[in-house]
């Protein structure tokens, strides 16, 4: 069990700590501008790891 009791919406959370505020579901409606970098164009010229990319918006 975690020592920290991080508040989440006023609820005491003992067993889980969420580390991010994900936007993937929201991006189903708002994404697709295409201004971001091509994922294979950067440091990984022999693989494709889109998860390492950032949104430019």
């Amino acid at each position: 069990m975690f020592h920290l009791e991080a508040g989440k919406g006023g609820i005491q959370v003992k067993h889980i700590q969420t580390v991010n505020k994900p936007t993937m579901q929201k991006s189903l409606k708002t994404g697709g501008c295409g201004e971001c970098q091509a994922s294979c164009q950067s440091a990984c010229k022999t693989s494709c790891t889109v998860g390492n990319q950032v949104c430019e918006k």
Partner: protein, 462 residues
């Protein structure tokens, strides 16, 4: 069945990823166990299944927390289908120019046959390079940000064309309002002071190739005469990095990466990453070699060793960051809160629909690794795209259309892996290369863990 969650334990930390929202939760051992049973709607079954291991009150308290996550759509979030934001047809926004299909090194694992890609050794003329810029301007439509990577072989062997194309692209920026992000990937042999200054003056991002330790690099990356290259390359890279200090050089904008490749011969590759850091470089990438029927290839038998090595790399990475002298490792970078949109995650690398390679003669291929694979020639700068159906096939070869990808927990992070590797091993871009998938999934777990640890440690400091 489609994976909705993924859980893993690494280095004593338990992580739960919600696949369809991207939420990452650090959990305790009890939640980790409960998630073997809990589906979101079977509380009593879960209590009964784990009553032998945990007090009932604790299980019910934990289930309460899980239901809270579900209400916030951060656990068992709805399945994702192709959204309307994913354009039916791709807009080309990135080109890889093979400015020199020739090279001054003979790396033993080269996918480009020593730079020639199985063709005659040749360099791109300035006219072909300028035509590529015109093609990109036309095909990118309303998109403002475009990318051009000068690649090879070794692109610095053809500075005449690099300079002519750059001058033309910068002129066209003024006329069209486009912005061209320019990148050059080099082995460093010709990275003279004059070339460094010119690349800096023209805002080039650089990808500098080195394989880590001197003995590893020299065994794999000899020059044409078979001699080691480490000392010459590192001397040039140090001068290059030194000249860029204090400028606008970071990993998002104009960046300077050192990238390397590890093979079956150096599965202790943490030493290579740390060697590059110790040599004075702090934005790093190291990737597994992809080879078929080669003594240097990573095999299935190597995987346990590879996994253990990534665990070691995480430890070393965190240790150096905590001590205040960390480094960036590309494959551990991940923006968990503001990552790519779903449309981008489906587009993947964009090969064949948003991203093309231009061979020295102006022929178009889905990406640099397909150059010379004639079945994948898409057209040419003079003819345009003559095989739109093949381009569209690449567009539609996303994770939701690939049998092995659509159920995988990693589908929205890896975006289905590399098409060229899938073709190399299976002759089919919709059948992913299994060893690549296995390593990719391990790397993603490491990246998620690193991001989670950094967030928790930052919270504790506050």
């Amino acid at each position: 069945m489609k994976a909705k969650i993924h859980k893993f334990e690494q280095n004593g930390t338990y992580i739960l990823l919600d696949v369809n929202s991207g939420a990452v939760h650090v959990i305790d051992k009890m939640i980790y166990d409960l998630m073997d049973t809990f589906t979101g709607e079977n509380d009593e079954e879960t209590v009964h299944a784990w009553a032998h291991a945990y007090p009932e009150a604790d299980i019910r308290e934990a289930l309460g927390e899980l239901h809270t996550l579900m209400e916030q759509q951060e656990l068992f979030a709805p399945d994702i289908d192709v959204p309307p934001t994913f354009r039916q047809h791709g807009l080309v926004k990135s080109l890889c120019l093979m400015v020199a299909q020739d090279c001054n090194l003979r790396c033993k694992y080269c996918f480009g046959d020593g730079g020639s890609y199985g063709q005659e050794r040749a360099v791109m003329t300035p006219d072909v390079g300028r035509a590529a810029i015109d093609f990109l301007i036309e095909k990118s439509g309303p998109r403002k940000h475009c990318e051009v990577d000068f690649f090879g072989g070794e692109p610095l062997m053809n500075m005449k064309t690099v300079k002519a194309v750059t001058e033309y692209a910068r002129k066209k920026e003024q006329e069209t309002g486009k912005r061209f992000k320019l990148t050059l990937t080099t082995n460093g042999m010709l990275l003279t002071d004059e070339n460094i200054q010119w690349l800096n003056d023209h805002d080039f991002s650089l990808v500098l190739s080195l394989d880590g330790r001197k003995e590893v690099n020299d065994a794999m990356r000899p020059d044409v005469g078979g001699h080691g290259t480490y000392d010459r390359i590192v001397r040039n890279f140090r001068r290059c990095i030194e000249s860029r200090k204090g400028g606008n050089y970071d990993y998002r904008g104009v960046y300077t990466y050192l990238r390397g490749t590890y093979t079956h011969e150096n599965l202790d590759f943490t030493k290579d990453v740390l060697s590059m850091h110790d040599a004075g470089f702090d934005i790093l990438s190291l990737e597994p070699v992809v080879l078929k029927d080669s003594p240097y290839a990573i095999t299935e038998d190597d995987l346990p060793r590879v996994y253990a090595e990534y665990d070691r790399l995480v430890d070393a990475y965190m240790e150096r960051r905590r001590a205040g002298h960390g480094f960036w490792f590309f494959h551990f970078n991940m923006d968990l809160s503001n990552g790519p949109c779903v449309a981008k995650r489906l587009s993947g690398c964009g090969a064949g629909h948003e991203y093309f390679a231009v061979a020295e003669n102006g022929d178009l291929y889905p990406c640099h690794q397909f150059v010379g694979r004639e079945g994948y020639r898409l057209g040419s700068l003079s003819e345009g795209v003559t095989r739109p159906e093949l381009s569209q096939y690449f567009r539609e070869s996303h994770v939701l259309n690939k049998e092995k990808c659509r159920d995988c927990w990693a589908r929205f992070f890896c975006s289905g892996g590399c098409h060229a590797n899938a073709d190399l091993f299976h002759g089919d871009i919709r059948q992913p290369y299994e060893i690549g998938c296995a390593i990719q999934k391990k790397r993603l777990e490491c990246a998620i863990l690193v991001q989670a640890l950094q967030t928790l440690e930052a919270n504790e400091k506050q």
